[in-house]
């Protein structure tokens, strides 16, 4: 009984994090992006500097009419947002926050392997959206999305494999237990490659070409309105949470604090995730977007060779030491 309660509690916490953190990051993005552009951002919703803006947006989306185009594949069209959103929820279960045994939703022994496999399912959501919309532009956008997500999945896989090599395990709590401070410079190339590839996985600027307004309306999501559209957006922000969480856990030492100050591990984790989320927003504001061919070129000719080099380095160091 205790066990069942414990599991229920964990699931509720994970679900709450899944709903709240993306909204916090979204609101931060509104404000940070605004100030970086010399303006104020939302100020009215909720009274104090517009903190309730995204809540208001959620209510707005819920009461919008649901338009399914006449020629679309109805069921596939309707299910695509769910397929894009749920993988991120599953991944959140496996990310550890603190040092103790209980500081994770569920210890999944397949760890990073499970995480990456599940994230790969998210690609299906975009493909379903693009195909089912019965819209040439959606189809083209969906294919570009799929090509981009596939191409950038590989550097993520390879660099994550490098960390697994360094730790000798694929379980995420195991990786954190084995973390040493000198992993930071050792895996720095892998960290940058993972982060950049993750940004492209999420289709965040500067890699948002398939979903950019001025490029192809909204790519695979063109025909979506209201709640389904909101779920796609929630998926993007949940993805930011997941990406920052994964980068923290794999490359930045998760709950480890500087100079061994490991107490209050979850504070360190949240701090690192916050800094990484800020960097994600910062990159969005600063850089123009890359063209499709530049995107692919970056993945295949820069990131994958770098990831392979990182694996080579990790392997040699690990065997030699």
């Amino acid at each position: 009984m205790n066990d069942a309660l414990d599991v229920a509690f964990r699931l509720i916490v994970v679900f709450a994090v899944f709903l709240v953190l993306p909204l916090v990051i979204g609101q931060t993005e509104h404000k940070v992006m605004a100030h970086m552009q010399g303006r104020l951002g939302p100020m009215y919703a909720g009274g104090f500097h517009g903190w309730a803006q995204l809540v208001a947006d959620g209510v707005k989306f819920a009461q919008k009419e649901d338009v399914v185009p006449a020629e679309a594949d109805r069921r596939v069209f309707q299910l695509a947002p769910a397929v894009a959103l749920l993988p991120y929820l599953l991944v959140l279960v496996a990310i550890p926050i603190g040092p103790s045994e209980g500081a994770v939703g569920q210890v999944v022994d397949a760890g990073i392997f499970f995480v990456l496999a599940v994230m790969g399912v998210g690609v299906l959501g975009s493909l379903m959206a693009g195909w089912a919309s019965a819209n040439k532009f959606s189809l083209l956008g969906g294919l570009r999305t799929a090509a981009q997500l596939l191409a950038y999945e590989l550097p993520m896989l390879l660099t994550a494999a490098s960390v697994a090599m360094a730790a000798g395990t694929v379980s995420l709590p195991g990786i954190l237990n084995a973390f040493e401070w000198w992993w930071l410079p050792w895996q720095i190339v892998g960290a940058i490659v993972f982060f950049v590839a993750g940004l492209a996985e999420l289709q965040r600027p500067p890699f948002d070409m398939p979903v950019a307004d001025s490029e192809i309306i909204f790519g695979a999501y063109t025909e979506y309105t209201g709640l389904r559209f909101a779920l796609f957006l929630l998926a993007e922000y949940a993805g930011i949470v997941v990406l920052c969480g994964l980068t923290t856990v794999l490359f930045l030492g998760g709950w480890h604090g500087p100079f061994g100050a490991d107490g209050l591990g979850w504070v360190w984790t949240l701090l690192k995730i916050a800094v990484l989320a800020f960097i994600v927003i910062w990159l969005r504001v600063t850089y123009p977007r890359m063209r499709e061919d530049q995107l692919q070129k970056l993945a295949w000719t820069v990131l994958i060779p770098l990831a392979l080099a990182q694996i080579a380095l990790t392997g040699i160091v690990k065997v030699v030491i």
Binding site: H35, M36, G38, R39, L40, W282, V285, T286, Y287
Partner: protein, 215 residues
């Protein structure tokens, strides 16, 4: 020397970060009213007392947005045996702000200073017919007309202020003249210029020979 690869990227990041730390200049209208410059053209006010219904403003308006109606009235002679005068009386004065292009020609051309600019701009309406402001509304706008902005320190004194000041000095000189008996000391009429006016530029002709005092 070729730039380090990636330096442009880093510079971009620095720019956005610096902008984030600076205070924004956004003014949150309507909680905060905008700071309008002096002589802002918002709306036109009519001071009926000055208007002689000469119709110059209606004639000169490029958009024909001023509507004036008037009639003539006879005024009895001022002195017995004199000629009767006729006066223009204003019936209707309306400015159609849906047509007005805010050029200000009507205000410039009015010889009697009956029209004034006011910086009020919040008079949007949902019905276009309400944008034609009649006499009463134009009089309301007069109370929002600000004082004219101060002249530069080195500017010439405005003519009307100069005329008013000279009249006041003449009156004061005449009074002082009347209060002191003649023959005591230098008659203040000689030279005729009170000490305060000695600094004025020499192009003034009035009080310099002010023996006669005011007419």
């Amino acid at each position: 020397m070729s730039p380090i690869p990636g330096s442009g990227l880093a510079k971009g990041l620095a720019v956005t970060l610096r902008t984030m730390t600076k205070k924004t200049v956004t003014a949150q209208y309507p909680d905060v009213q905008p700071e309008l410059p002096p002589r802002s053209r918002g709306v036109i006010g009519l001071f009926e007392e000055n208007c002689t219904v000469c119709m110059l403003c209606a004639r000169e308006c490029p958009d024909w947005c001023i509507y004036i109606d008037s009639h003539k009235e006879t005024v009895p002679a001022a002195v017995p045996g004199g000629r009767e005068r006729s006066r223009n009386v204003l019936d209707r004065f309306a400015i159609d702000f849906s047509l007005c292009m805010y050029c200000g020609i009507c205000i410039e051309v009015c010889p009697f200073d009956a029209l004034f600019w006011s910086p009020e701009f919040e008079y949007a309406e949902t019905d276009i017919r309400e944008l034609t402001h009649e006499r009463d509304k134009l009089r309301e706008w007069m109370w929002t007309v600000p004082a004219p902005p101060a002249l530069d320190p080195g500017a010439e004194e405005p003519k009307e202020i100069g005329a008013a000041r000279k009249t006041a000095e003449k009156l004061a000189a005449a009074e002082a003249d009347a209060s002191t008996p003649p023959g005591v000391g230098t008659p203040p009429g000689v030279g005729g210029v009170p000490p305060g006016a000695a600094e004025r530029p020499a192009d003034e002709s009035g009080p310099a020979s002010g023996q006669g005092g005011p007419a």
